[in-house]
Protein backbone atom coordinates (compact mmCIF):
# COMPACT_ATOMS: atom_id res chain seq x y z
CA UNK A 1 0.00 0.00 0.00
CA UNK A 2 1.18 3.51 -0.84
CA UNK A 3 1.92 5.81 2.04
CA UNK A 4 -0.54 8.75 2.26
CA UNK A 5 2.54 11.02 2.31
CA UNK A 6 2.54 10.97 -1.45
CA UNK A 7 -0.36 13.41 -1.27
CA UNK A 8 1.86 15.99 0.42
CA UNK A 9 3.79 16.59 -2.80
CA UNK A 10 0.76 17.83 -4.77
CA UNK A 11 -1.71 20.66 -4.16
CA UNK A 12 -5.44 20.29 -3.63
CA UNK A 13 -8.13 22.97 -4.03
CA UNK A 14 -10.51 23.99 -1.24
CA UNK A 15 -12.93 21.22 -2.23
CA UNK A 16 -10.16 18.62 -1.83
CA UNK A 17 -9.74 18.06 -5.57
CA UNK A 18 -6.33 17.99 -7.24
CA UNK A 19 -5.29 21.47 -8.41
CA UNK A 20 -3.70 20.24 -11.66
CA UNK A 21 -4.91 16.99 -13.19
CA UNK A 22 -1.55 16.55 -14.92
CA UNK A 23 0.05 16.04 -11.47
CA UNK A 24 -1.94 12.83 -11.15
CA UNK A 25 -0.28 9.40 -10.97
CA UNK A 26 -1.74 5.99 -10.10
CA UNK A 27 0.06 6.29 -6.74
CA UNK A 28 -1.80 9.51 -6.02
CA UNK A 29 -5.04 7.81 -7.00
CA UNK A 30 -4.32 5.09 -4.46
CA UNK A 31 -3.54 7.70 -1.81
CA UNK A 32 -6.82 9.56 -2.36
CA UNK A 33 -8.74 6.29 -2.58
CA UNK A 34 -7.26 5.23 0.76
CA UNK A 35 -8.58 8.45 2.31
CA UNK A 36 -11.99 7.53 0.94
CA UNK A 37 -11.66 3.99 2.25
CA UNK A 38 -11.50 2.47 -1.22
CA UNK A 39 -9.03 -0.12 -2.55
CA UNK A 40 -8.67 0.33 -6.30
CA UNK A 41 -9.28 -2.56 -8.70
CA UNK A 42 -9.32 -2.91 -12.49
CA UNK A 43 -13.03 -2.04 -12.43
CA UNK A 44 -12.27 1.26 -10.69
CA UNK A 45 -9.68 1.94 -13.37
CA UNK A 46 -12.21 1.58 -16.17
CA UNK A 47 -14.07 4.49 -14.61
CA UNK A 48 -10.94 6.48 -13.74
CA UNK A 49 -9.44 6.17 -17.23
CA UNK A 50 -12.70 7.10 -18.89
CA UNK A 51 -13.14 10.11 -16.59
CA UNK A 52 -9.60 11.35 -17.31
CA UNK A 53 -10.14 10.98 -21.05
CA UNK A 54 -13.38 13.01 -20.94
CA UNK A 55 -11.78 15.64 -18.73
CA UNK A 56 -8.88 16.04 -21.18
CA UNK A 57 -11.40 16.51 -24.01
CA UNK A 58 -13.99 18.73 -22.36
CA UNK A 59 -12.48 20.20 -19.18
CA UNK A 60 -15.25 18.67 -17.09
CA UNK A 61 -15.56 15.35 -15.30
CA UNK A 62 -18.26 13.04 -16.70
CA UNK A 63 -21.70 12.62 -15.14
CA UNK A 64 -22.90 9.28 -13.81
CA UNK A 65 -24.95 8.85 -16.95
CA UNK A 66 -21.93 9.63 -19.10
CA UNK A 67 -19.90 6.96 -17.31
CA UNK A 68 -22.54 4.23 -17.45
CA UNK A 69 -23.42 4.96 -21.07
CA UNK A 70 -19.85 4.86 -22.34
CA UNK A 71 -18.30 2.07 -20.24
CA UNK A 72 -19.55 -1.39 -19.27
CA UNK A 73 -19.99 -0.27 -15.65
CA UNK A 74 -23.65 -0.12 -14.57
CA UNK A 75 -25.00 2.49 -12.15
CA UNK A 76 -25.41 -0.19 -9.50
CA UNK A 77 -21.75 -1.24 -9.86
CA UNK A 78 -20.65 2.38 -9.94
CA UNK A 79 -22.22 2.84 -6.51
CA UNK A 80 -20.49 -0.28 -5.24
CA UNK A 81 -17.12 0.93 -6.56
CA UNK A 82 -17.43 4.54 -5.39
CA UNK A 83 -20.03 4.62 -2.61
CA UNK A 84 -21.89 7.87 -1.85
CA UNK A 85 -21.78 10.22 -4.80
CA UNK A 86 -19.91 8.11 -7.40
CA UNK A 87 -19.42 10.88 -9.99
CA UNK A 88 -17.82 13.18 -7.42
CA UNK A 89 -15.77 10.49 -5.75
CA UNK A 90 -14.51 9.05 -9.05
CA UNK A 91 -13.51 12.55 -10.20
CA UNK A 92 -11.55 13.15 -6.99
CA UNK A 93 -9.67 9.85 -7.24
CA UNK A 94 -9.04 10.46 -10.96
CA UNK A 95 -7.35 13.75 -10.02
CA UNK A 96 -9.97 15.92 -11.72
CA UNK A 97 -11.79 19.09 -10.67
CA UNK A 98 -15.08 18.76 -8.82
CA UNK A 99 -17.76 18.11 -11.47
CA UNK A 100 -19.70 21.31 -12.27
CA UNK A 101 -22.86 19.28 -11.87
CA UNK A 102 -26.19 20.93 -12.17
CA UNK A 103 -27.73 24.28 -11.77
Amino acid sequence: MTSPNILENVTFDSDGFLEDYLDWTPDIAEGIAAEEGIVLTDRHYIVINYARKIFAETGDAPTMRGITKNTDVSTKELYALFPKGPAKKAARIAGLKKPTGCI
Binding site: R65, N70, T75, K76, L78, Y79, K84, G101, C102, I103
Partner: protein, 413 residues
Protein backbone atom coordinates in the same frame (compact mmCIF):
# COMPACT_ATOMS: atom_id res chain seq x y z
CA UNK B 1 -34.08 32.99 -51.22
CA UNK B 2 -32.31 31.49 -48.20
CA UNK B 3 -33.84 29.41 -45.41
CA UNK B 4 -33.83 29.68 -41.65
CA UNK B 5 -35.52 26.77 -39.94
CA UNK B 6 -36.54 26.93 -36.28
CA UNK B 7 -37.17 23.60 -34.53
CA UNK B 8 -39.80 23.87 -31.80
CA UNK B 9 -42.35 26.67 -31.30
CA UNK B 10 -42.31 26.78 -27.50
CA UNK B 11 -40.96 29.69 -25.46
CA UNK B 12 -37.63 30.02 -27.30
CA UNK B 13 -38.66 29.14 -30.85
CA UNK B 14 -41.59 31.56 -30.74
CA UNK B 15 -39.41 34.44 -29.53
CA UNK B 16 -36.75 33.72 -32.18
CA UNK B 17 -39.42 33.61 -34.93
CA UNK B 18 -40.81 37.00 -33.89
CA UNK B 19 -37.42 38.65 -33.62
CA UNK B 20 -36.08 37.25 -36.91
CA UNK B 21 -39.29 38.16 -38.77
CA UNK B 22 -38.78 41.70 -37.53
CA UNK B 23 -35.05 41.95 -38.25
CA UNK B 24 -34.55 40.09 -41.55
CA UNK B 25 -35.66 41.08 -45.04
CA UNK B 26 -38.53 38.84 -46.24
CA UNK B 27 -37.14 39.09 -49.78
CA UNK B 28 -33.92 37.46 -48.70
CA UNK B 29 -34.89 35.03 -45.96
CA UNK B 30 -37.67 32.50 -45.64
CA UNK B 31 -38.32 31.69 -41.98
CA UNK B 32 -39.91 28.33 -41.18
CA UNK B 33 -40.89 27.08 -37.72
CA UNK B 34 -41.91 23.49 -36.95
CA UNK B 35 -43.72 22.04 -33.95
CA UNK B 36 -45.63 18.82 -33.42
CA UNK B 37 -48.20 20.31 -31.04
CA UNK B 38 -50.48 23.21 -32.07
CA UNK B 39 -51.02 24.20 -28.42
CA UNK B 40 -48.66 26.58 -26.62
CA UNK B 41 -48.37 25.75 -22.94
CA UNK B 42 -47.54 28.29 -20.26
CA UNK B 43 -45.53 25.71 -18.33
CA UNK B 44 -44.90 27.76 -15.15
CA UNK B 45 -48.69 27.61 -14.69
CA UNK B 46 -48.57 23.79 -14.39
CA UNK B 47 -47.35 24.28 -10.80
CA UNK B 48 -50.66 25.83 -9.75
CA UNK B 49 -52.95 23.23 -11.36
CA UNK B 50 -52.65 20.44 -8.75
CA UNK B 51 -53.89 22.87 -6.08
CA UNK B 52 -56.86 24.09 -8.10
CA UNK B 53 -55.41 27.62 -8.45
CA UNK B 54 -55.21 27.35 -12.27
CA UNK B 55 -57.00 25.07 -14.70
CA UNK B 56 -56.04 23.97 -18.21
CA UNK B 57 -57.70 27.10 -19.61
CA UNK B 58 -55.13 29.33 -17.92
CA UNK B 59 -52.16 27.63 -19.50
CA UNK B 60 -53.08 26.78 -23.13
CA UNK B 61 -53.35 29.05 -26.16
CA UNK B 62 -52.98 28.27 -29.87
CA UNK B 63 -49.35 28.51 -31.01
CA UNK B 64 -50.32 30.35 -34.16
CA UNK B 65 -51.58 33.34 -32.11
CA UNK B 66 -47.98 34.10 -31.18
CA UNK B 67 -46.32 33.59 -34.55
CA UNK B 68 -46.05 36.34 -37.16
CA UNK B 69 -48.05 35.72 -40.34
CA UNK B 70 -44.90 36.16 -42.43
CA UNK B 71 -43.36 33.05 -40.87
CA UNK B 72 -44.03 29.68 -42.46
CA UNK B 73 -45.54 27.65 -39.60
CA UNK B 74 -45.45 23.89 -40.10
CA UNK B 75 -47.26 21.50 -37.75
CA UNK B 76 -45.29 18.28 -37.85
CA UNK B 77 -42.92 16.08 -35.91
CA UNK B 78 -39.20 16.32 -36.53
CA UNK B 79 -37.75 12.93 -37.37
CA UNK B 80 -34.09 13.65 -38.08
CA UNK B 81 -31.65 16.50 -38.56
CA UNK B 82 -28.82 15.92 -41.04
CA UNK B 83 -26.19 18.64 -40.62
CA UNK B 84 -24.07 17.24 -43.46
CA UNK B 85 -27.02 17.63 -45.86
CA UNK B 86 -28.21 20.80 -44.05
CA UNK B 87 -31.74 19.49 -43.96
CA UNK B 88 -34.44 18.39 -41.54
CA UNK B 89 -36.87 15.57 -42.28
CA UNK B 90 -40.30 15.35 -40.64
CA UNK B 91 -42.09 12.10 -39.81
CA UNK B 92 -44.48 12.66 -42.73
CA UNK B 93 -41.46 12.54 -45.04
CA UNK B 94 -41.31 16.21 -45.94
CA UNK B 95 -37.85 17.74 -46.09
CA UNK B 96 -36.88 21.23 -44.93
CA UNK B 97 -33.51 22.45 -46.28
CA UNK B 98 -31.78 25.16 -44.23
CA UNK B 99 -28.98 27.68 -44.38
CA UNK B 100 -29.34 28.33 -40.64
CA UNK B 101 -30.95 26.12 -38.05
CA UNK B 102 -32.18 27.18 -34.60
CA UNK B 103 -32.79 24.31 -32.19
CA UNK B 104 -35.47 25.09 -29.59
CA UNK B 105 -36.92 21.65 -28.90
CA UNK B 106 -36.81 21.99 -25.10
CA UNK B 107 -36.92 18.98 -22.81
CA UNK B 108 -38.96 15.79 -22.83
CA UNK B 109 -40.08 13.98 -19.68
CA UNK B 110 -38.83 10.42 -19.54
CA UNK B 111 -40.46 8.60 -16.58
CA UNK B 112 -39.62 5.30 -18.30
CA UNK B 113 -35.95 5.92 -17.41
CA UNK B 114 -36.63 4.83 -13.82
CA UNK B 115 -37.46 1.19 -13.16
CA UNK B 116 -41.06 0.76 -11.98
CA UNK B 117 -42.03 4.43 -12.38
CA UNK B 118 -44.67 3.60 -14.95
CA UNK B 119 -45.88 0.51 -13.10
CA UNK B 120 -49.30 -0.15 -11.56
CA UNK B 121 -49.26 3.05 -9.52
CA UNK B 122 -48.69 5.42 -12.45
CA UNK B 123 -51.44 8.03 -12.42
CA UNK B 124 -53.05 6.19 -9.48
CA UNK B 125 -50.76 7.17 -6.62
CA UNK B 126 -47.75 8.29 -8.69
CA UNK B 127 -48.04 11.57 -10.61
CA UNK B 128 -45.91 14.19 -12.26
CA UNK B 129 -46.88 17.86 -12.56
CA UNK B 130 -44.46 18.79 -15.38
CA UNK B 131 -47.08 17.80 -17.98
CA UNK B 132 -50.59 19.15 -18.29
CA UNK B 133 -51.97 15.62 -18.08
CA UNK B 134 -50.06 14.78 -14.90
CA UNK B 135 -50.89 18.10 -13.21
CA UNK B 136 -54.60 17.76 -14.06
CA UNK B 137 -54.87 14.18 -12.81
CA UNK B 138 -52.97 15.11 -9.66
CA UNK B 139 -55.46 17.92 -8.97
CA UNK B 140 -58.29 15.38 -9.05
CA UNK B 141 -56.37 13.02 -6.78
CA UNK B 142 -55.44 15.70 -4.21
CA UNK B 143 -59.02 16.91 -4.08
CA UNK B 144 -60.12 13.58 -2.57
CA UNK B 145 -56.91 12.55 -0.82
CA UNK B 146 -57.31 11.73 2.89
CA UNK B 147 -53.66 12.34 3.84
CA UNK B 148 -50.55 10.26 4.47
CA UNK B 149 -46.96 10.49 3.27
CA UNK B 150 -46.51 12.71 0.25
CA UNK B 151 -43.05 12.28 -1.26
CA UNK B 152 -41.73 14.64 -3.91
CA UNK B 153 -38.78 13.09 -5.76
CA UNK B 154 -36.45 14.54 -8.37
CA UNK B 155 -35.23 11.57 -10.41
CA UNK B 156 -32.12 13.08 -11.88
CA UNK B 157 -30.51 16.46 -12.54
CA UNK B 158 -30.70 18.64 -14.57
CA UNK B 159 -34.44 19.37 -14.58
CA UNK B 160 -36.09 22.45 -16.00
CA UNK B 161 -37.12 25.01 -13.42
CA UNK B 162 -35.15 23.38 -10.56
CA UNK B 163 -37.09 25.40 -7.97
CA UNK B 164 -40.48 23.99 -9.01
CA UNK B 165 -40.30 20.89 -6.76
CA UNK B 166 -39.70 23.13 -3.73
CA UNK B 167 -42.51 25.43 -4.75
CA UNK B 168 -44.76 22.40 -5.06
CA UNK B 169 -43.95 21.44 -1.46
CA UNK B 170 -44.49 24.98 -0.15
CA UNK B 171 -47.83 25.18 -1.93
CA UNK B 172 -48.78 21.71 -0.67
CA UNK B 173 -48.08 22.85 2.90
CA UNK B 174 -50.36 25.84 2.33
CA UNK B 175 -53.06 23.79 0.55
CA UNK B 176 -53.32 21.18 3.32
CA UNK B 177 -53.24 23.89 5.99
CA UNK B 178 -56.17 25.66 4.30
CA UNK B 179 -58.03 22.35 4.11
CA UNK B 180 -57.48 21.85 7.83
CA UNK B 181 -55.61 18.57 7.31
CA UNK B 182 -51.93 19.57 7.50
CA UNK B 183 -51.57 17.35 10.59
CA UNK B 184 -52.62 14.34 8.50
CA UNK B 185 -49.91 14.90 5.88
CA UNK B 186 -46.19 14.21 6.05
CA UNK B 187 -44.20 16.13 3.43
CA UNK B 188 -40.89 14.68 2.26
CA UNK B 189 -38.48 15.90 -0.41
CA UNK B 190 -36.08 13.28 -1.81
CA UNK B 191 -33.47 14.94 -4.03
CA UNK B 192 -30.22 13.84 -5.69
CA UNK B 193 -28.66 17.18 -4.67
CA UNK B 194 -26.60 17.55 -1.49
CA UNK B 195 -29.05 20.23 -0.25
CA UNK B 196 -32.41 21.83 -0.96
CA UNK B 197 -31.19 23.70 -4.05
CA UNK B 198 -28.34 23.82 -6.54
CA UNK B 199 -26.72 27.01 -5.22
CA UNK B 200 -25.35 27.08 -1.64
CA UNK B 201 -26.70 30.52 -0.64
CA UNK B 202 -30.25 29.83 -1.74
CA UNK B 203 -30.01 26.40 -0.16
CA UNK B 204 -29.40 27.97 3.24
CA UNK B 205 -32.38 30.32 2.91
CA UNK B 206 -34.67 27.66 1.48
CA UNK B 207 -33.63 25.05 4.05
CA UNK B 208 -34.87 27.25 6.88
CA UNK B 209 -38.19 27.69 5.05
CA UNK B 210 -38.45 23.91 4.71
CA UNK B 211 -37.77 23.51 8.43
CA UNK B 212 -40.41 26.13 9.30
CA UNK B 213 -42.96 24.26 7.23
CA UNK B 214 -41.95 20.89 8.67
CA UNK B 215 -40.85 19.45 5.32
CA UNK B 216 -38.22 16.71 5.65
CA UNK B 217 -35.40 16.56 3.10
CA UNK B 218 -33.65 13.35 2.05
CA UNK B 219 -30.50 14.52 0.24
CA UNK B 220 -28.18 12.74 -2.24
CA UNK B 221 -31.01 10.36 -3.05
CA UNK B 222 -30.35 8.88 -6.51
CA UNK B 223 -33.47 6.89 -7.26
CA UNK B 224 -32.92 3.39 -8.63
CA UNK B 225 -36.49 2.08 -8.67
CA UNK B 226 -40.07 2.51 -7.60
CA UNK B 227 -41.51 -0.49 -5.81
CA UNK B 228 -45.23 -0.20 -6.59
CA UNK B 229 -46.06 -3.19 -4.38
CA UNK B 230 -44.56 -2.01 -1.09
CA UNK B 231 -44.86 1.70 -2.01
CA UNK B 232 -41.26 2.67 -1.51
CA UNK B 233 -38.70 4.38 -3.69
CA UNK B 234 -35.23 2.87 -3.43
CA UNK B 235 -31.90 4.59 -4.09
CA UNK B 236 -28.76 3.09 -5.59
CA UNK B 237 -27.19 3.10 -2.14
CA UNK B 238 -30.12 1.03 -0.83
CA UNK B 239 -32.02 3.70 1.09
CA UNK B 240 -35.79 3.46 1.06
CA UNK B 241 -38.40 6.20 1.34
CA UNK B 242 -41.99 5.04 1.81
CA UNK B 243 -44.83 6.94 0.13
CA UNK B 244 -48.60 6.97 -0.01
CA UNK B 245 -48.54 9.53 -2.77
CA UNK B 246 -45.47 9.96 -4.98
CA UNK B 247 -45.01 13.15 -6.96
CA UNK B 248 -42.12 12.63 -9.35
CA UNK B 249 -40.09 14.99 -11.45
CA UNK B 250 -39.01 12.38 -14.00
CA UNK B 251 -35.69 12.46 -15.85
CA UNK B 252 -35.62 15.43 -18.25
CA UNK B 253 -34.08 14.62 -21.62
CA UNK B 254 -33.66 16.30 -24.97
CA UNK B 255 -35.95 15.50 -27.91
CA UNK B 256 -35.65 12.01 -29.43
CA UNK B 257 -34.95 13.60 -32.83
CA UNK B 258 -31.84 15.28 -31.35
CA UNK B 259 -30.58 11.98 -29.98
CA UNK B 260 -31.35 10.07 -33.20
CA UNK B 261 -29.47 12.71 -35.18
CA UNK B 262 -26.38 12.27 -32.99
CA UNK B 263 -26.58 15.91 -31.93
CA UNK B 264 -27.08 15.37 -28.19
CA UNK B 265 -24.99 14.44 -25.14
CA UNK B 266 -25.91 11.46 -22.94
CA UNK B 267 -29.19 13.14 -21.96
CA UNK B 268 -29.91 14.44 -25.44
CA UNK B 269 -28.95 18.08 -24.79
CA UNK B 270 -27.02 19.82 -27.55
CA UNK B 271 -23.37 20.73 -26.81
CA UNK B 272 -23.48 24.53 -27.14
CA UNK B 273 -21.01 27.35 -26.57
CA UNK B 274 -22.18 28.85 -23.25
CA UNK B 275 -21.35 32.45 -24.31
CA UNK B 276 -22.27 32.62 -28.02
CA UNK B 277 -25.00 29.92 -28.04
CA UNK B 278 -23.65 28.47 -31.29
CA UNK B 279 -23.56 24.69 -31.59
CA UNK B 280 -20.11 23.39 -30.68
CA UNK B 281 -20.05 21.20 -33.78
CA UNK B 282 -21.90 23.04 -36.56
CA UNK B 283 -21.37 26.72 -37.23
CA UNK B 284 -24.77 27.29 -38.86
CA UNK B 285 -26.69 25.80 -35.92
CA UNK B 286 -27.68 27.90 -32.89
CA UNK B 287 -29.41 26.62 -29.77
CA UNK B 288 -31.81 28.42 -27.42
CA UNK B 289 -33.51 27.34 -24.22
CA UNK B 290 -33.76 24.00 -22.49
CA UNK B 291 -32.36 22.07 -25.46
CA UNK B 292 -28.84 23.48 -24.89
CA UNK B 293 -26.38 21.89 -22.46
CA UNK B 294 -25.17 25.25 -21.10
CA UNK B 295 -24.52 25.30 -17.33
CA UNK B 296 -27.34 27.57 -16.20
CA UNK B 297 -30.92 26.85 -15.13
CA UNK B 298 -33.37 25.58 -17.71
CA UNK B 299 -36.00 28.30 -17.35
CA UNK B 300 -38.18 30.65 -19.34
CA UNK B 301 -36.35 33.65 -17.91
CA UNK B 302 -33.07 32.23 -19.22
CA UNK B 303 -34.58 31.79 -22.69
CA UNK B 304 -35.55 35.45 -22.60
CA UNK B 305 -32.02 36.51 -21.62
CA UNK B 306 -30.51 34.29 -24.35
CA UNK B 307 -32.61 35.72 -27.16
CA UNK B 308 -30.51 38.75 -28.02
CA UNK B 309 -27.26 36.76 -28.10
CA UNK B 310 -28.77 34.16 -30.45
CA UNK B 311 -30.25 36.76 -32.82
CA UNK B 312 -27.15 38.99 -32.88
CA UNK B 313 -24.85 36.03 -33.49
CA UNK B 314 -26.96 34.65 -36.33
CA UNK B 315 -26.77 38.11 -37.93
CA UNK B 316 -23.03 38.36 -37.19
CA UNK B 317 -22.46 34.99 -38.81
CA UNK B 318 -24.52 36.00 -41.87
CA UNK B 319 -22.38 39.13 -42.22
CA UNK B 320 -19.14 37.18 -41.81
CA UNK B 321 -18.40 38.92 -38.49
CA UNK B 322 -17.02 37.24 -35.35
CA UNK B 323 -19.60 36.04 -32.83
CA UNK B 324 -20.14 38.00 -29.62
CA UNK B 325 -19.75 36.08 -26.32
CA UNK B 326 -22.54 38.08 -24.68
CA UNK B 327 -24.60 35.50 -22.79
CA UNK B 328 -23.60 35.37 -19.11
CA UNK B 329 -25.88 32.59 -17.86
CA UNK B 330 -28.32 35.08 -16.35
CA UNK B 331 -31.31 33.41 -14.69
CA UNK B 332 -33.96 34.65 -12.34
CA UNK B 333 -36.81 32.81 -10.76
CA UNK B 334 -39.65 33.64 -8.47
CA UNK B 335 -40.03 30.93 -5.86
CA UNK B 336 -43.62 30.64 -4.73
CA UNK B 337 -43.49 29.91 -1.00
CA UNK B 338 -47.19 29.60 -0.20
CA UNK B 339 -49.54 31.79 1.86
CA UNK B 340 -49.43 34.47 -0.84
CA UNK B 341 -45.67 35.07 -0.66
CA UNK B 342 -42.66 34.34 -2.83
CA UNK B 343 -38.89 34.64 -3.04
CA UNK B 344 -36.97 35.95 -6.02
CA UNK B 345 -33.45 34.83 -6.91
CA UNK B 346 -31.14 36.20 -9.58
CA UNK B 347 -27.81 34.65 -10.65
CA UNK B 348 -25.47 33.90 -13.57
CA UNK B 349 -22.49 31.68 -14.49
CA UNK B 350 -20.20 33.44 -12.02
CA UNK B 351 -22.36 34.96 -9.32
CA UNK B 352 -24.36 33.29 -6.60
CA UNK B 353 -27.94 34.45 -5.96
CA UNK B 354 -27.88 37.99 -4.61
CA UNK B 355 -29.71 40.03 -2.02
CA UNK B 356 -31.17 43.33 -3.20
CA UNK B 357 -34.04 44.76 -5.15
CA UNK B 358 -35.08 43.98 -8.67
CA UNK B 359 -35.20 45.16 -11.44
CA UNK B 360 -34.56 48.71 -10.23
CA UNK B 361 -31.68 48.96 -7.72
CA UNK B 362 -32.80 49.92 -4.20
CA UNK B 363 -36.42 50.34 -5.35
CA UNK B 364 -37.66 47.02 -6.53
CA UNK B 365 -40.58 46.35 -6.46
CA UNK B 366 -39.22 42.82 -6.07
CA UNK B 367 -36.96 41.78 -3.23
CA UNK B 368 -34.24 39.24 -3.91
CA UNK B 369 -33.89 36.25 -1.60
CA UNK B 370 -36.55 37.48 0.79
CA UNK B 371 -40.06 36.19 1.16
CA UNK B 372 -42.55 38.96 0.23
CA UNK B 373 -46.06 39.50 -1.05
CA UNK B 374 -44.79 41.68 -3.95
CA UNK B 375 -42.71 38.76 -5.24
CA UNK B 376 -45.82 36.58 -5.19
CA UNK B 377 -47.70 39.15 -7.26
CA UNK B 378 -44.67 39.26 -9.56
CA UNK B 379 -44.92 35.52 -10.06
CA UNK B 380 -48.60 35.76 -10.98
CA UNK B 381 -47.87 38.79 -13.20
CA UNK B 382 -45.30 36.70 -15.04
CA UNK B 383 -48.18 34.89 -16.75
CA UNK B 384 -49.46 38.14 -18.25
CA UNK B 385 -45.95 39.22 -19.26
CA UNK B 386 -45.30 35.79 -20.79
CA UNK B 387 -48.35 35.78 -23.06
CA UNK B 388 -48.30 39.48 -23.90
CA UNK B 389 -44.65 40.56 -23.98
CA UNK B 390 -42.10 37.75 -23.84
CA UNK B 391 -43.32 35.51 -26.65
CA UNK B 392 -43.66 38.45 -29.01
CA UNK B 393 -40.06 39.36 -28.10
CA UNK B 394 -41.15 42.85 -26.99
CA UNK B 395 -38.63 44.74 -24.88
CA UNK B 396 -39.14 44.25 -21.15
CA UNK B 397 -37.94 46.21 -18.17
CA UNK B 398 -35.18 43.72 -17.38
CA UNK B 399 -31.77 43.64 -19.06
CA UNK B 400 -30.11 40.52 -20.46
CA UNK B 401 -26.88 40.80 -18.59
CA UNK B 402 -27.01 40.60 -14.90
CA UNK B 403 -26.53 43.92 -13.13
CA UNK B 404 -24.77 44.18 -9.78
CA UNK B 405 -26.30 47.58 -8.95
CA UNK B 406 -28.25 47.59 -5.70
CA UNK B 407 -27.29 44.03 -4.91
CA UNK B 408 -25.20 42.64 -2.13
CA UNK B 409 -23.50 39.30 -2.70
CA UNK B 410 -24.24 36.99 0.19
CA UNK B 411 -21.33 35.07 1.62
CA UNK B 412 -21.47 31.36 1.01
CA UNK B 413 -21.53 30.30 4.61
Amino acid sequence: MKNIVILGAGTGGTMVANKLAHDLSPNEWKITIVDKDPRHFYQPGFLFIPFGIYTANDVIKPKKNFLPSTVNYVIGEIEIIEPAQTQVTLTDGSVLPYDYLVIATGTRLAPEEIEGMMGDGWYKNIFDFYTLEGATLLAKHLDKWQGGRLVVNVAEMPIKCPVAPLEFLFLADWYFTEKGMRDKVELIYATPLPGAFTKPVSTAVLQSTLDDKDIRVETEFDIMEVDNETQVIRSYDEREVAYDLLVTIPTNMGAKAIINSGLGNELGFVPTDPRTLQSKHHENIFVIGDAANVPTSKAGSVVHFELETVIENIKNHMAGLPLEPTFDGHANCFIESGHGKAYLIDFNYETQPLMGHYPIPRVGPFTLLEETRANHLGKLGFKWAYWNMMLKARPMLVSNQMSMAGKVPVSEN
